[in-house]
């Protein structure tokens, strides 16, 4: 096997990728781990090898748990390339990656996609203004730089991360001016039947309650049932205030310098899409995800998916899924030989732990299902941040006869900018679905084609000498 060939290539060095890499190396596989970031950890354990903050209380033990994964993977003898942007994977087991402006080509027997999640694009009027950023972004700034946003700070949206970043800022001594909770009241009713099931995952429930009480104790103004969110700008075009309706239907305005928004996370499906793998619309999580068997095997025999890119399950689930995918790869390799079956006990244990991890999901998914106004925003709202296409334009294209996102793309360029639909894909599908009285599953998604990240011709040109050693 030459230096560009690997038994297993893994894309993404978050919990799924790191745990898969160390498990696979232990099983004797020759492993290549590629990650876009400069350091391993993914977003959840971002910068875990050199955390910025002096005070470990701020991010808490769930973050520093990642150190364990990092240590296991660092000693495992895996070929790890950081700052490596995969821009194409072909169905005949070749991948192309750009590292420091040069393209490289690798061959693999099996591929594990562990590209994680992204925050759900949650368009509302003014969400493009400088000063508005996602809660995830604020958290990344804490992890990598120890930076906190300038006040007054308002946090708006729905989901566990909203509570988490609030608690982390509180622990850092930062004043939060208001938390605007957009979780629709009806979600509490639809989540209620799942609550008993959720109690089996009592640790998560307890964690949630602790966060809520931490926020309450800090005396932050917390409003539930907020609707009609919009961000206002000053004369220089930056964020100046947030306007919303409170749960009594009164319009309110709060002046702010930072608005942190969040509406949950969805699988990062750019790569799985570009490979033409089968995807399904998850009506509860309101997102697309690749169609997989219980081991993470996709519709392509050599491609598996683990972690949040396989469907949202959180960091601990991702770690277990990474492991399970590798056990499946090893089982296939050893099928029929005398060594098969060695991992059965460990595999069984991982399956049980995974079930335990996922027991809270039905409750969380229903409780934090995004409000309709973020799936189908008001007409004046920009939905495609790159090409500045509004919800109104998409609606009128639907009324003019467009039947799917690839058609609207051709007419209004939504999805054709540098982010390649990452920030508008889900919204455009949902908008078309509601306009055409169909489901997003019927309307479909953008066709994603390589290169899945913008590439300069210079980088492409280096592909000729790409067969270099690592």
């Amino acid at each position: 096997m030459n230096s560009n060939q690997f038994d297993l290539a893994i894309i993404g060095a978050g919990p799924a990728g790191m745990s898969a890499a160390s498990t696979a190396a232990k099983q004797g596989l020759k492993v290549l781990l590629l990650d876009e970031q400069p350091r391993p950890g993914g977003q959840i354990y971002r910068n875990i090898g050199s955390p910025a903050l002096k005070d470990r209380q701020i991010l808490g033990p769930d973050y520093y748990y990642g150190e364990k994964l990092l240590t296991a993977f660092s000693g495992a003898g895996v070929t790890y390339l950081h700052g490596a942007t995969v821009w194409e994977v072909t169905t005949d087991n070749i991948l192309y990656v750009s590292v420091k402006g040069e393209s490289r080509r690798f061959e693999f027997n099996k591929l594990l996609i562990a590209t994680g999640a992204q925050e759900r694009p949650s368009p509302f009027p003014g969400w493009t203004l400088p000063g508005v950023m996602t809660c995830g972004a604020a958290q990344i700034l804490l992890k990598t730089s120890g930076l906190t946003p300038p006040g007054p700070i308002v946090i708006a949206g729905s989901g566990p991360l909203l509570l988490l970043i609030s608690c982390q800022l509180i622990r850092a001594g930062i004043k939060i001016d208001a938390i605007l909770d957009t979780t629709p009241g009806k979600n509490y009713r639809s989540a209620l039947p799942e609550f008993l099931g959720a109690l089996k995952g009592w640790r998560f429930v307890l964690k949630g309650m602790r966060m809520l009480s931490e926020i309450r104790k800090a005396g932050i103004q917390q409003l539930s049932g907020v609707t009609g969110l919009s961000a206002d700008q000053d004369e220089s075009g930056n964020l100046s205030a947030v306007t919303y309706y409170d749960n009594k239907g009164h319009q309110q305005t709060l002046s702010c310098s930072s608005l942190l928004v969040h509406q949950g996370v969805i699988p990062n499906s750019q790569l799985t899409r570009s490979l033409g793998l089968a995807h399904v619309w998850d009506e509860v999580q309101k997102c697309w995800k690749p169609e997989l068997n219980k081991w993470g095997q996709s519709s392509h025999p050599d491609i598996l998916v683990a972690g949040d890119s396989a469907g949202i399950g959180g960091a601990l689930a991702a770690e277990l899924q990474g492991k399970l995918a590798v056990f499946e790869i090893v089982r296939q390799r050893d099928a029929g030989s005398a060594t098969s079956g060695n991992n059965e006990i460990e595999q069984e244990k991982a399956i049980q732990e995974l079930q335990q991890q996922l027991v809270i999901r039905p409750f969380l998914d229903r409780l934090y299902s995004p409000a309709e106004e973020f799936m189908s925003p008001p007409d004046e709202t920009i939905v495609c941040r790159c090409e500045e296409v509004t919800a109104g334009e998409i609606r009128s294209l639907a009324n003019d006869g467009c039947r799917g996102p690839n058609q609207t793309k051709a007419f209004c360029r939504a999805g054709m900018g540098p982010c390649q639909g990452r920030q508008c894909g889900t919204t455009v599908s949902s908008l078309l679905a509601s306009e055409l009285k169909a489901s997003p599953a019927q309307v479909g998604y953008y066709n994603i084609r390589a290169p899945i990240k913008p590439l300069t011709l210079g980088e492409l040109a280096t592909i000729g000498n790409a067969d270099s050693n690592c």
Partner: protein, 106 residues
């Protein structure tokens, strides 16, 4: 009316420091952090204007997904500031509208 758009630094662990120049202003950044983080700390808002309507934008996702952090970094236009690490002596400028099309950096 909020005026200061600078992000604030909490006490951080021992790290190297680098000097970079953002829009003509020299600032100190932490070794290993992203250009986007340094730009936010410097309070440069917006960090780009859009090609379509010339409206201001700033880093939004910090994880390489939204492409709203595009800046001109060491002369290279439309570079994702959240995916680029600071380096001593780096020169960073606001990306204004679409890139200039020049022969050597297609």
């Amino acid at each position: 009316m909020p005026t200061d758009s600078r992000f604030n630094r909490l006490p951080v662990s021992e790290k190297g420091l680098v000097s970079i120049c953002i829009e003509g202003q020299t600032i100190t950044a932490l070794e290993g952090e992203s250009v986007a983080a340094a730009v936010l700390q410097a309070g440069v808002r917006p960090s780009r204007t859009t090609p379509v309507t010339d409206s201001g934008r700033a880093p939004f996702c910090m994880m390489g997904v939204c492409f709203d952090c595009l800046m001109e970094i060491d002369g290279k236009p439309n570079t994702q500031a959240c995916m680029t690490e600071v380096r001593d002596g780096m020169v960073v400028n606001i990306q204004r509208g679409a890139r200039q099309v020049l022969g050597d950096d297609l």
